[in-house]
Symmetry: C2
């Protein structure tokens, strides 16, 4: 099955490259299915699968009785990473304490919430989770009262493991350790495989929380250029690994925050192979994995982890309820150390949350909810993207996410988005400036927008205002506000 | 008020020293109140306060119309720390991974639970907490769903702060950061004031979790001799501070685990003064503070922290419900760093637990519950102590705790209690060997027993069996089993 997906993905990617390069222009007709089948030496079905996939992604029109036409060449809307800004050398992280202030605005319920990357309560089954929690207080009172087993609630870990059954390398319940959210998992994973002063390779841009984590643990960072559609550059990463001196690599192959890409299965497998060849542990942040758009769940890089080098980290904060503070990890060959660190970090994680999650998985509710969630997030992201294209100044570029609920927006005119953040905050709109997603201001003219909630009139007004203000700032020329 | 308590405590301690030294034997009459008042130059009331206190602790009998008589001289049942075993030099912690195995048995519900230090569900208001959690799911669903404010739920921190109103230096809501249990608080406090390779002074014996924490964070340790009734030796601590090179001191002045002492207010103030004089931060683990026996809540060392050098850590795991995973810290002048570390450890702590705790404090229920809890724990500890004296071999010595629910028991004959632990585990009885509460086997012949639950027939049987087995092991002579 995986091999089939590889084939159609390979063809899709090849086609997209050609479309992006202008080989096939918008409106132009593509070769027939039969012709493609001969060209690529694959079955007619595989070609059709690829065409249908690209149609679903908005690139192609399949017109019955006529043929397949290019609909959009908007393939690489976010520019390729600028290689000259990536020396691939270890540097110390020193992100200002402002980041924590950027985060804090989320606590103000009066804000228009475009800052924190988080689906809103409108698209998450708040009532059902609350009902389940109530049920746990009634029927599992003693279990909820007590410390949970150090590895986690067995019902919960058992059902977590089940979800990996179709992976080439499944995860078993014994591999799993429940954590207090994905942040604890990432922190413990980092500490399981590295020490202060060590260097860790990361995607660039990457989740600011990961950079802060590395800073706070005195790790150095090598930023690896990362493509807005394909993910981390494997050739650059190999160059870094080959040179040596890297203790770990922190990646987020599914619906990455902020870029929204999902690496193909082929590239995930190649990433794991690279980690294995150079014996560099991979810390996989899969907190957005369950939100990758589409019918089927997206496999993580962990699915290919034969050598036990992947420390998988995830949570339910982005797909169900952040307040539960429940995440989990499968730390491969580092599990013993990971578990020791977990017990000395928070001993165990909240019992009621774990039992409730176990029940939501067991009943099939969570899987059913995800199908709906992905569709709604996809719609919301598309709606917001449309609005941004309409309201923001010419030259604005933005991602086409494959999961999650954030848009990564590059403003024209070299605007420092901290200025925009500050003005927006004063107006009751919370957005996240892009500069903290990498070092040395590489993304200082980017903005991350959360499309976790429907496009209500206040959100539309906020977007219009942001667009106008971005235009004003661009007109004033490149500068940094204090 | 504090000065008055100092006076009566000073007199009580002086009397206890005399009783312990045999100056007044059991059955003997003490000087009259009037005579004592003249001797110590204090009011008659203060002497009466002291006599009543010692009567409540079981040392004196006050017989109306007759006088005050010594009832028990069992004052220093646990021997004084052996100074020759305390070089007061930094050493690396290396406690075996067995400790985590010792802890794990707690997860087996079939065990007789004498291992983990924890009041049982019989003495904690499980139903009321569950009802409150249910209430939160109904009336605060959105708040419970979301990430909580990074510092914690305002209702909760506000009521936490209120409890310190009578302290010489009260804590304000702004000083507080909610954590995922006390372990996270201790871990963040440690990281806020020290770095790998630094040295931390600790009580000896001390909670094994603290030693493991120091090990896992690569801190060195100076063990300071600690008296079973008076607490850490302030003169030895000053010697350590004076020599320099100590980054912090980790103490537990209230109902310390495992010794069960509560430092007098005077000694707490002196401890804080010492920290201030030498500018060494104090990390105060007050997780047992709410269980100190008596009508009034015991003030922590933090109550005297004018200089902001005390990093106070507590939780509700030992006084209400461990499964909540809710603790809190007041990190004084280190609060900014502490908060940064907290956000990169678990971001925020479980929302539903915080809101529920806020409500239980607000309604006065928690305070009311504590009064009952202290009484029941005191009774249970006394009942278990009586049973141990009855069932254990001659020469067994044990503490007379002032709070909490553990007994610290020294077996005769140089028995290594790991052997007892192993035999007990095989028999379905969970106890904790004493060796892991200090380094170099100083307490290898000690055993910690949890008296958190009533003395049911299975517990009585377990104690009888433990006593018999301890006698067998003692008869077999000193040895260590693998």
């Amino acid at each position: 099955m995986i091999d089939d997906r590889f084939l159609y993905e390979r063809i899709s990617r090849r086609l997209l490259e050609q479309i992006g390069a202008g080989t096939f222009a918008v409106g132009q007709k593509l070769p027939s299915v039969r012709r493609m089948s001969a060209l690529f030496k694959v079955s007619v079905n595989t070609v059709m699968q690829s065409y249908r996939h690209l149609e679903a992604e908005g690139y192609l029109d399949i017109r019955p009785q006529s043929g397949v036409y290019v609909r959009s060449s908007d393939v690489h809307d976010i520019p390729e990473p600028d290689g000259s800004r990536y020396p691939l050398l270890p540097v110390e992280v020193s992100l200002s304490e402002q980041v924590l202030q950027y985060m804090e605005l989320h606590a103000d319920p009066a804000m228009v919430r475009l800052g924190i990357a988080l689906p809103g309560p409108e698209v998450l089954p708040v009532d059902r989770v609350m009902a389940t929690l109530r049920d746990v207080t009634r029927h599992h009172a003693l279990e909820a009262w007590d410390y949970m087993h150090p590895n986690g609630c067995p019902l919960f870990t058992h059902h977590l493991a089940r979800r990996s059954l179709s992976y080439p390398v499944p995860v078993t319940a014994e591999d799993i350790i429940v954590t207090s959210g994905a942040m604890e998992a990432l922190s413990l994973a980092l500490r399981s495989v590295s020490r202060p002063g060590d260097t860790v390779a990361v995607e660039s841009p990457t989740y600011y929380g990961a950079l802060l984590l590395l800073e706070t643990h005195q790790r150095k960072v090598v930023e690896v250029p990362t493509h807005a559609r394909h993910g981390i550059s494997l050739s650059a990463l190999e160059q870094v690994f080959r040179r040596g001196g890297v203790a770990a690599c922190l990646v987020s192959p599914n619906a990455q925050n902020p870029l929204g890409f999902t690496m193909s299965l082929e590239r995930k497998a190649a990433l794991v192979a690279l980690s294995e060849r150079y014996q560099v542990p991979l810390i996989e942040n899969d907190v957005w994995g369950d939100t990758v758009y589409g019918e089927e769940a997206a496999a993580p890089a962990k699915a290919f982890d034969r050598a036990g080098l992947v420390l998988y980290c995830s949570s339910f904060s982005k797909s169900l309820m952040p307040g539960l503070r429940i995440g989990w990890a499968a730390a491969g060959r580092f599990q013993k150390r990971f578990r020791e660190l977990k017990q000395l970090s928070t001993i165990t994680s909240t019992s009621i949350s774990q039992i409730a999650m176990g029940r939501l998985l067991e009943s099939g509710f969570y899987a059913q909810h995800l199908r709906e969630l992905r569709e709604r997030l996809h719609d919301q992201v598309n709606a917001m993207a449309k609005e941004v294209r309409r309201c923001f100044p010419p030259g604005t570029r933005l991602t086409r996410p494959t999961g999650g609920c954030v848009l990564w927006v590059r403003l024209p005119g070299g605007v420092d988005t901290v200025a925009l953040f500050q003005r927006a905050a004063a107006r009751g709109v919370h957005v996240f400036p892009g500069g903290v997603f990498s070092l040395d201001g590489k993304h200082a003219d980017y903005l991350r927008l959360n499309a976790g909630s429907p496009l209500t009139p206040p959100v539309r007004r906020a977007l219009r205002w942001l667009g106008e203000t971005a235009a004003e700032l661009a007109a004033a020329g490149p500068r940094r506000e204090a």
